[in-house]
Amino acid sequence: MHRKTLTELQAGLARGDYSARELAEHFIKRIQSLDPELNSFISITAEQALAQADAADAARARGEAGPLNGLPIAHKDIFCTRGVRTSCGSRMLDNFNAPYDATVVEKLQAGGAVVLGKTNMDEFAMGSSNETSYYGPVKNPWDLTRVPGGSSGGSAAAVAARLVPAATGTDTGGSIRQPAALTGITGLKPTYGRVSRWGMIAFASSLDQAGPMATSAADCALLLSAMAGHDPRDSTCVDRPVDNYSADLDKPLTGLRIGLPKEFFPATLDGRIADSTHAALRELEKQGATLVDISLPSVDLSVPAYYVIAPAEASSNLSRFDGVRYGYRCNDPQDLEDMFKRSRSEGFGAEVKRRILVGTYALSHGYYDAYYLKAQKVRRLISDDFVRAFEQVDVIMGPTSPELAFGLGAKSDDPVTMYMADVFTIAVNLAGLPALSMPAGVIDGLPVGVQVIGNYFREGQILNVAHRFQQATDWHQQQPAFGGDA
């Protein structure tokens, strides 16, 4: 059963090949037996999952099955889930049982999905390797000595190892797409404002966006249709009808103009990754697409702009974790200041503290104009580059990550090298555009991902491109040996 896509499982459930309970039990068993090695889950909610599965079966029996009825999923542990620990990968929230459900959680539950657990992640989504989690690093199922990418590394590894057919992720600078690329799955970051952020613990509010991670574009389309939509509780969530993302998946690519920014193919790019990307592009050309060389001159500034804006927002967003109302509080505080200082010093890990310091500095009196305002100007230039590009092309493509999954600990001591892992993904967040990563090859036993960037609210179009590619290739069906015989 775990070899099947969400879409196939949906059909199987409808035919009555198996019940939602049988599915849930099967995947829970896989998680329980395989995850101790992978560490992709922080919490396994078996009891609730089985109750949800029974409810899904009962709903189906009554003829009231929703679009996701009985389909097992997992949530990144950044989404608040009522009564379930919501840790955000941090010691700070290790004791935090959220008193409410995030909108994304509500919507997927309303569709009938069964939640098996909460997946591991970089602490407060700050990281590109899933090594900053308080709960320990997640291993890449393709090679257990390597990282799965981050920050949605738990969701990516769990889906890649087929411990769960799909999972939610969040993407602030590449946190869905980069781990999707490094683990050989499909992950989509929607347009900023397409999916509600209510209940999603904020890292950088102007960049954060939730999205689906699954083994195919069709599965992402299915999930996104349920996740997206206006939410009056999030002022930045756009009031605009949700497309049926599954409807246009099969549309031929004839006449599609694919932009190839020269900035995404630097001379220093790993030749094997460049080859896989070009092979994917040739396949799309074969299907009728045309390739257009373009330039996004300002995207070279994405990483520095991002590492001002994101930490600045984070330094403020994370101020609420003060030990007063919930979360970690230090033992025996001597006074108020001692409580604030020690609760935060002990509750946050090193990378989170580094970014709070960077962000605090960037917003400080006398530095604001030179850093924060300058970065906002760069952000505008980057957006303008994309707007101009989309006057000539329909989608923009390139490699998702400049490198394959790297070894655990290989970059832990060098934050700047780590930050460069997101060099191709960050510009998309700064511009607020939708983008996905899809598998496009395997090199030395490690998957390669290709990124497809769309115009605002054109999630349907990039899913169409990915689906057509997946109809013609089988990269997305390749699975790691790990867990293969269980």
Binding site: W198, S205, D322
Partner: protein, 485 residues
């Protein structure tokens, strides 16, 4: 040496919205601690603010009332600092792009002179919660502080004036005018004791004739006009003494204690936080169109200044009376309802500014709680005008109405207060009085006009005594004059 005082104010005005500025929680005063704190107010992880449009509308109305520029686009920013009653670790406020730009408020001083106080700007922001330093103890007996977040997120406008006031009296006159304005346009309940208006006073002194401002101090959170006046006077005195003794005023924030009439330094400028303001990424800029502005302008009631002018013009009231009546919208509405019912503006004004005001003051209640309705007061004034009762008896009628004995007509009837206007009966009583006081009557007749004037009251008093005050005074006067010839 002669000193000049320079005062600028920052005023926090709580907007009287049903719910908070960024959440749906109630803003009602006096509820159990934390019973009005939602997920957003508690700053639960993952929660987001949504702007309460009513707060925006009320802020715009204020701007229109002071003739200020309304920003078509204003931006909420985060003011970052750690404090236990600030749940998010930042206050959502406005800095670079406030909703209300420069405006002006005209004040009238005790001696009747007028003066304009310029408003620098007014911005929207959320209130913080409250720290409760009562006796809370943990299991080991260590003292703890309680946090009540009911007030957290209450909408405020902070109004910042230019340093245009030159005395405590001017500052108080401004504060009272502002109170009148915000309550008149219905954006604030004006309940000072509940913290609905709080004043921060910036005070400096300089030698008369100096152009440059002296170093200022800020005394925070004064919530009564009395404390504000006292705190300013105390600070002015302190600064002058300090300078005259060769010292220097240090820029600092001070706290005034009204109970002991003392103030102390809270923090100096050097300790000031770097608040690291930046635009709040969770909120969109507030966009206001010309249509919005015109619609809100149409909702504004007649403003106190305009109403004062109309009262003078339409009712022939004095500047002073018109000012008192127009200064409070509820009082002005009551007054106008009394005029409608009585048909006499001057008498109505006298009653409302006199007996009614005194009774309300003594009972410490507002005019909206006055037990005598405007219609009843108007009816009573009519009874004075038509001679049914005298002005003196009217006070009795008013008291009875106040105590719930019914309408003025019911009281007059039940208590038999109808004025004695039957001249035959009155003549008999007057004859009786003259007969009983022959000696005085003789003396009166023998006296010159000047002395007679003084003696006349005695006979009036005797008549009133016998009639229990119900005799029509004009009639008594006329008849007595005649009989004593």
């Amino acid at each position: 040496m002669s000193w000049e005082t320079v005062i600028g104010l920052e005023i926090h005005v709580q907007l009287s919205t049903q719910s908070k500025i960024f959440s749906g929680s109630s803003t009602a005063f006096g509820a159990e601690p934390n019973s009005q704190a939602s997920l957003v107010d508690l700053a639960m992880p993952g929660t987001l603010p949504v702007t309460n449009l009513e707060a925006i509308r009320k802020a715009v109305k204020f701007g229109l009332a002071i003739d200020a520029q309304i920003a078509k686009r204003s931006v909420f920013e985060r003011k970052n600092y750690f404090y236990p009653d600030l749940p998010k670790g930042y206050q959502t406020t406005q800095l670079a792009e406030p909703i209300v730009g420069a405006g002006a408020v005209e004040i009238q001083l005790e001696d009747g002179t007028r003066k304009t106080v310029r408003i620098h700007h007014a911005h929207l922001e959320e209130d913080a919660g409250k720290s409760l330093h009562e006796a809370f103890f943990d299991e080991n007996g260590h003292g703890m502080t309680g946090i009540d977040l009911n007030r957290a997120g209450t909408p405020l406008i902070e109004i910042v004036t230019e340093p245009d006031m030159r005395s405590a009296e001017e500052a108080v006159a401004f504060a009272r005018k502002l109170h009148s304005l915000v309550t008149s346009i219905g954006i604030c309940d004006g309940h000072m004791a509940q913290g609905s208006m709080r004043f921060d006073v910036n005070v400096s002194v300089r030698k008369k004739g100096d152009d440059t401002l002296g170093t200022r101090t800020e005394t925070k959170n004064l919530n009564s006009f009395k404390f504000m006046e006292a705190a300013i006077k105390l600070e002015v005195e302190r600064q002058i003494d300090l300078i005259e003794d060769g010292g220097k005023v240090v820029q600092e924030t001070r706290l005034y204690n009204g109970d002991t009439h003392t103030a102390r330094s809270m923090r100096s400028k050097e300790d000031a936080n770097d608040y690291r303001y930046f635009p709040c990424p969770d909120l969109l800029p507030v966009i206001i169109t010309d249509e919005d502005i015109e619609a809100l302008r149409a909702e504004l009631p007649e403003l106190p200044d305009a109403r004062q002018a109309r009262f003078i013009d339409q009712y022939g009231l004095s500047d002073y009376d018109a000012g008192i009546l127009a200064g409070d919208r509820a009082v002005a509405d009551y007054f106008e309802a009394v005029v409608t019912a009585s048909g006499d503006a001057k008498l109505s004004a006298n009653w409302v500014t006199g007996d009614v005001a005194a009774r309300l003051n003594a009972a410490d209640i507002g005019i909206d709680q006055c037990p005598v309705s405007a219609v009843h007061l108007g009816q009573m004034i009519q009874r004075i005008l038509d001679g049914t009762i005298s002005s003196k008896i009217a006070k009795q009628v008013f008291d009875a109405c106040w105590n719930g004995e019914g309408s003025p007509d019911q009281v007059i009837e039940a208590r038999g207060l109808k004025q004695m206007s039957d001249s035959g009966e009155l003549e008999k009583i007057i004859d009786q009085v003259i007969h009983d006081n022959t000696a005085q009557a003789e003396a009166f007749r023998a006296a010159d006009e000047g002395k007679q004037k003084k003696m006349f009251g005695f006979f009036v008093g005797q008549v009133m005594k016998l009639t229990q005050g119900k005799a029509n005074p004009q009639q008594v006067n006329a008849l007595l004059q005649e009989r004593l010839k």
